[in-house]
């Protein structure tokens, strides 16, 4: 009924230009943000248990006990979601010869000079982020399992639980650096955040940041 009063050509209102390029699918975006939410909760609760100064953050979880109970479950959720998402990305994140050149030019790029041409969907910095998470997240999961009260910790020796605590804390802080760089890079390169929230990038964005990927996508699109 309502459709009839709408003028022809009326559509869902969006800022998306008609020639925009899709960068992340709905499933990718939703999984990415589920991982991000899990990460924020894990970092807050982990920090509360790591440093007394931040213990007040436990109030976010209702009570410190509940925080301690939830932390490992959220950790498992992050692991599962990350690898559900990451399993689709590994091929695009394989390191290539061009990545060395990009990394060599990364300092210049960060200081306002032009970016070295990127061939794939991801630049070398993004690839490093990906592979560091592929290593860190299982390290956090395994060391976390060893400490997980009351389910798993009793099965492990006390020296192993001590070692797990160190591994867990260390990996968590390396991960914080990685995520910090990731978030900042997304804010710094305007248009990236929109790619992950709305899914699309402009053609100019794609040509500038990922020319190789752009050419591939456009050729596929234009193919008869």
């Amino acid at each position: 009924m309502l459709d009839k009063v709408r003028p022809p050509g009326h559509a869902f209102a969006t800022a998306r230009p008609p020639d925009a390029i899709r960068r992340y699918s709905e499933a990718e975006r939703l999984t990415h943000w589920a991982v991000a939410l899990a990460y924020v909760l894990l970092f807050i609760s982990g920090l509360a248990m790591f440093h007394p100064f931040f213990y007040w953050l436990s109030a976010i979880f209702g009570s410190p006990q509940l925080m301690r109970v939830l932390h490992p479950f959220i950790g498992v959720a992050l692991f599962v979601l990350f690898f559900a998402y990451g399993a689709r990305l590994w091929r695009e994140n394989l390191i290539s010869k061009n990545d060395e050149r990009w990394l060599a030019g990364a300092w210049n790029y960060m200081n306002g000079r032009d970016e070295v041409r990127v061939e794939g969907k991801y630049n070398a910095g993004q690839k490093l982020m990906y592979w560091s998470m592929v290593i860190l997240i299982p390290a956090l999961l395994l060391s976390g399992l060893v400490m997980w009260r009351p389910w798993f910790a009793p099965s492990f020796s006390i020296p192993l639980r001590r070692a797990a605590a160190i591994v867990h804390v260390f990996a968590a802080f390396v991960m914080f650096i990685g995520i910090g760089v990731h978030v900042y890079a997304a804010l710094w390169t305007k248009g990236s955040m929109r790619a992950m929230t709305q899914g699309w990038v402009t053609r100019r964005w794609a040509r500038y940041h990922h020319p190789g990927w752009y050419e591939k996508v456009v050729n596929q699109k234009d193919a008869p």
């Binding site: 790591f50 213990y55 410190p64 006990q65 009260r149 605590a165 910090g180 305007k190 964005w205």
Partner: protein
């Protein structure tokens, strides 16, 4: 926990000063293994005073009953049969439980403010109200003492009857011991008594007799007289210390480094933005391509 809370020398996961206006003499329990007959009256007294009963356990084929410390068994007699030269077969009976270290590893590892405290009298006490059930105290303890309750997910151990000591009584186990294997008093007095006992044992030919008050944890507030000297004969570590891993994990260094890392990430981002500003391929006007004209673009 006792009501005597104004004499804390340590408080877990707390940067602020703990209330410490009161100060008491350091106390100690002396366990003279040479006098212990393994009657387990101390175990019964511990259950009585603390009003907790363990479930029916399993017979493991030794006198150890229950077989181990549990959340509801805060002290347990351990029986060891050892061939020791020149005395021959010896039956060693060790009353196990918290040693109340001067430098408690449990307290160092604990992430919950005030869940573990140390009073000026030396007693290390768990405050289960503040306990979050993480089990880190078990990782911190060099003696494998804290036990985790599956019933309420909190950690428990011997309190050295802090509630009795706080009002001038001796611990329940001391009160009940029929052979004076257990004594209680100031740490200085107990070390004096221990030295007397050791010299008596040496006179009886036990030349290796020694006092167990391990310096690696700053000394303990439960002190043993070990007739045969070597702590390992009695199932105790020779030189217990807080594990270097736990020290590093809970060190001010690691905590400060963690916070500095976080702050650095924020500052680096903030100042980078202020220096370079964002990369924005869409910001500048589209460069004119040779084939396009202004009229064409307007269409």
């Amino acid at each position: 926990m006792t009501n005597d809370t104004l004499d804390l020398v340590r408080r877990s996961a707390s940067n602020e000063n703990a209330p410490r206006i009161r100060s008491h003499l350091e106390v100690a329990k002396l366990i003279d293994i040479s006098r212990c007959i393994g009657c387990k009256a101390c175990q019964a007294a511990c259950m009585e005073w603390n009003d907790i009963r363990d479930g029916i356990g399993v017979n493991t084929g030794s006198y150890d009953s229950p077989a181990d410390l549990t959340d509801r068994t805060w002290t347990v007699m351990r029986f060891y049969e050892k061939e020791i030269e020149p005395q021959g077969l010896q039956w060693l009976i060790v009353k196990d439980g918290c040693l109340h270290c001067a430098e408690p590893g449990c307290l160092k590892a604990c992430p919950a403010p005030g869940a573990i405290v140390q009073y000026s009298n030396g007693i290390v006490d768990f405050n289960q109200d503040a306990c979050i059930g993480c089990g880190y105290c078990q990782a911190g303890c060099p003696f494998n003492i804290p036990r985790y309750s599956k019933f309420d997910n909190k950690a428990y151990k011997c309190t050295l009857c802090s509630d009795r000591v706080g009002v001038g009584l001796e611990p329940a186990c001391i009160k009940t011991c029929p052979t004076q294997a257990l004594s209680f008093g100031t740490k200085v007095d107990m070390l004096g008594l221990a030295a007397e006992r050791v010299s008596e044992l040496k006179e009886r030919g036990l030349e290796k007799a020694s006092i167990y008050d391990p310096a690696g944890v700053g000394g303990t507030h439960v002190v043993y007289v070990m007739p045969h000297g070597d702590p390992e004969l009695y199932g105790m570590p020779r030189d217990p210390t807080i594990s270097p891993t736990v020290r590093l994990w809970r060190s001010t260094f690691a905590r400060t480094l963690g916070v500095l890392t976080m702050v650095s990430v924020f500052l680096a981002g903030f100042f980078h933005w202020m220096k370079v500003g964002p990369v924005d391929p869409d910001a500048a006007p589209e460069p004119k391509e040779p084939t396009s004209s202004p009229q064409k673009e307007e269409v």
